[in-house]
Subunit: 120 residues, 2 copies
């Protein structure tokens, strides 16, 4: 199945905040085709515009990887509701993954960051 | 200098949310001595109680590593003000690091998570 991966950050009116996510995802977007960054609110591109674009490009599914450390109200209620709505509007399948903070790779990255911190 | 490292998460009234941070930091706390998890608000232990504890245990400095993906108002204003206050109250040096989302290890972890996602 032709699948687009949307790295989803919350978004902010502070452009420094959203720039951090652009830098954080630069390597992932450059390394993997079909990967893009989108925002829930306040920053662009919006999640909706990413889903619309994927549909236009004939992707059959969008998989959303939340750039959140833990699951709060946004990931339990708001994002699933948005995706259900966009799936109908843009005639595309959607899949919501757990937030990156639940993945063992994050726990390992934290150990590396602390090692570096302790040395300095 | 005897240094305590506090991994600082925001905190939430939702215990599932804070449990994610307990799991995320388990390996780091088990691997490194002098590392502990604290919260800005709503969850315990609080940042203040972690600083108080470090002072009581004769640490000379607390280094705070924010478990945040980007720097918003909390990390630009609130946490520096809290640390300035606690430094005086508990007679201890404090150091605030950039949030983990600005570290290259996070960008690399994201690439690994996507690799796994694409394969499944």
């Amino acid at each position: 199945m032709k699948e687009k991966i949307i790295l989803l950050a919350h978004g902010s009116s502070d452009s420094n905040w959203s720039d951090t996510f652009v830098r954080l995802t630069e390597k992932a977007c450059a390394t993997h085709a079909h990967v893009t960054l989108g925002f829930m609110e306040l920053s662009s591109p919006s999640l909706e515009s990413c889903v619309a674009e994927a549909s236009k490009e004939a992707y059959e599914c969008v998989t959303v990887l939340p750039l959140f450390l833990a699951k709060g109200k946004h990931l339990k209620k708001d994002v699933p509701a948005m995706l259900e709505n966009y799936a109908k509007t843009y005639d595309i399948q959607t899949r919501l993954l757990p937030p990156i903070g639940e993945h063992p790779a994050l726990s390992q990255a934290l150990v590396s960051i602390i090692e570096e911190t302790v040395q300095n």
